[in-house]
Symmetry: C2
Subunit: 518 residues, 2 copies
Amino acid sequence: MTKQTGSHLMLDALLEAGVDTIFGNPGTSEMHLTAAIADYPEIEKVLCLFEGGATGAADGYGRMKGKPAATLLHLGPGLANGLANIHNAKKAGTPMINVIGDHTTFHKQYDAPLNSDIEGTAAPYSQWIRTVAEPTSLGTDTSEAISAAVSHGGQISSLIVPADIAWSDRKGKTPAFSVEREKVNPAILDAAIGVMKNGRKTGLIVGREALYGEGLKLAGQIAAATGATLFFPYASARVQRGAGLPATKRIPFPVEAAVEMLASYEQLLMIGAVEPVAFFAYPGKPSCVVPETADLLNVVTPREDVLAALHYIADQTGGDAIVEDPTPVPDPASGPLTTDTLMRTVANAMQEGMILAEEGVTTTRALLATIGGCPQHDYLTNVGGSIGAGLPLALGAAIACPDRPVLCISGDGSASYTHQVLWSMARHKLNVTIVICANHSYQILKGEMYRVGAMKPDGPRNPLLELDDPRLDWVSLAKGYGVDSLRCETAEELDFELRKGLATPGPVLIEAALQPVD
Amino acid sequence: MTKQTGSHLMLDALLEAGVDTIFGNPGTSEMHLTAAIADYPEIEKVLCLFEGGATGAADGYGRMKGKPAATLLHLGPGLANGLANIHNAKKAGTPMINVIGDHTTFHKQYDAPLNSDIEGTAAPYSQWIRTVAEPTSLGTDTSEAISAAVSHGGQISSLIVPADIAWSDRKGKTPAFSVEREKVNPAILDAAIGVMKNGRKTGLIVGREALYGEGLKLAGQIAAATGATLFFPYASARVQRGAGLPATKRIPFPVEAAVEMLASYEQLLMIGAVEPVAFFAYPGKPSCVVPETADLLNVVTPREDVLAALHYIADQTGGDAIVEDPTPVPDPASGPLTTDTLMRTVANAMQEGMILAEEGVTTTRALLATIGGCPQHDYLTNVGGSIGAGLPLALGAAIACPDRPVLCISGDGSASYTHQVLWSMARHKLNVTIVICANHSYQILKGEMYRVGAMKPDGPRNPLLELDDPRLDWVSLAKGYGVDSLRCETAEELDFELRKGLATPGPVLIEAALQPVD
């Protein structure tokens, strides 16, 4: 045991709050924190080769556990490398505590090479930021960082710790943290119950706790009792689905399809979600995807106590019944891999309790409409649109739930941002099966290029959208990280390897060689 | 040719200013920019799989060309992924123009998933930021972005372009850009000349233009005429060295060694550099590395016209002579690869005109003291301390100088941040030879852990500092990106493969299997 320092005080405060997992990539300014972490066998220490992997994994962990992981990041640039997945976590409402080392309080004035404005770097992507000013405030600051992270359904805390405060003698206490959440408005809940019973065609757009566990069951009972349909936004943090669970429909990414799905609804009520909008604007197309003629009611915001609201509403609407998703598991596929045969093969390999972490972009666009009747699973995806979330989410989910199989499906373009997490998966021998949908292009952007009117459908190849010269060899990349890997050309091969991968401990990466789309 | 849009106007302004190279990773909000870029065959288009590669490459390009490249980045998170290497470029004084797409002006209000505060994201890492407000201001905004980037020795401009402005009809003109630079103070130059001639032991700490080309020659003449020694800060942007050039000494990274190198100097004059400070603070060690007893004179800041100042001083001090580095090229090495045998092998393989892009951290710490007498070369390294610069610098330098061989030496830890650029090297068939110093640990942090007093030298292994479980297989990683690769165990093998790699077109990666240090 090393000498008790401020770092130990901080770790004790985190552990008392149940924060026992750290995804990190430290540097000189975090050496005392790093040394102190080694004094705690009860802390799960996950080293990531790149900070975007650490923050994305903390996102996946937080979504599955409902409590924060900590990240350990090296000054402004280390934080900057993690920002894109902090952005995704912030949009998902994931609780997360970023611990960022800084120069000592007395070295900061010299503007050494690594000096930068860390608070300014954190600001656009954090709800709570503080630089610890002195050793005696570290305990309070840590407790407040925890309180902020676990409040209002989950927030991003960024706690900046100068190196000399991390190495100071341990001083002061760690006050208890507290959980706050904005209160639901009972008058609005009563109004919503009245609206649900008015006989008009009703959609409930639900998010956060309404999409898993007890909240999902309650949402399903409310929908069944009132005849409403349950929708969830395209980008939702954690979605539980499958046989025996209430049916939920995902609002599609393409604005036209989203508009069409909701067009016939006379009223739409938001419960733990905000009004859905198009991911991007397209010339001549709407930014909002709800019908102009529909009545909209924001019943419960994500920052309010969604579960309490669901209990209140369900008590009033009554009934135990739910409506399951009638979608049958699709027929098994055979032959060359296409988006269709890949999707059907995945659907058939789904297992009870599986966690599906997905960033397949174009390849998996129709997947969610297909697997509603499969064995029960949790679905995690990129919520903030910042690409490079899929693999890190899988890492975090696997650390959070070591007894559950994790299937990660990613596009080849998206996986290229943060595949360093494959190494962490190998290091922790996690049961993650990864399918890389290899179409060797930014396929989504070819469609978007046309949809924004920048190119005709038969326009020339654009070198900034093609990944085929050279082709990425995912079997070799995975091997480089110590992850078993292989390539599949057909649905039959993929089916065999998926089942084998899921049944075998440790990670495996499957490159799914997709047929050319054009 | 597509319809003339705001995007074309912007690209014309860039081309008129000589900005003809774009390192990019676009998304939906940049589709019109991406389509317009394809209309210009004279633009070099370098797709990067990860934005940190794009910004680091733009840094390497800007340092070698002395003019900015543009980057093309996707909203706040795409910019965030590039920030760490923008930080390095900002510290290096590299001219760079970041073009960042944003949601359309009318979609921004809906806070869609990818919405974030882009100006806030750019602020800590840019000297100039603007969001284009309307199509008619795009031309002026672009010209001002260029002016800012090329002024004061090189700055970071961040130009945020909403998608509907990129797709608007072409409107307005592109005013000429202008170069500004802070003026040198002749009184201080005169004072400096007097000081240099006072017979005391003098060090000139030089940076920016004083480290290459005409400026280096002038600095060498000044040093020779006045008997001063030329030093350069550990983190300097571009350093030309080798036989026939003035000797320059690098101030070491370890604070003790830096203090020792400068201890005997009675006066230190800064020309294009600022007073050197320790990279980090260590308990009981100084933040400043210059002797307390020395007189310090800031003669020319990096923001001032360093070359003009050197001309002025050299005219007064007179003389054509320079003092070359007497360090002999070390004896060739043999046997197993260690930091010493690797260094000697590299020194013997150096070629006239080579660009050495280096982020070898511990392995290459003594390299610069060894190669001063080798054939003339340019040396680029990480200037802001944000790890993950080495490989991207090599990409940018190779694009900037396609006729010169590029040797990149990187630690295995550092290369893990941004090795996606290997793919871009393969795509452009660049003559880059990469040596990965594989010691399978964050070796520098083991030393730092001890030096900050967090651990005794014989302390236990810390899992957050070890990269050996599993070992990264760089031969496979490179192959995954389409880059030829092999592993060397001995100095003889490395010597053979280095010479072969440098003489062969296209990239090759050599994993140098270092003997364990302990």
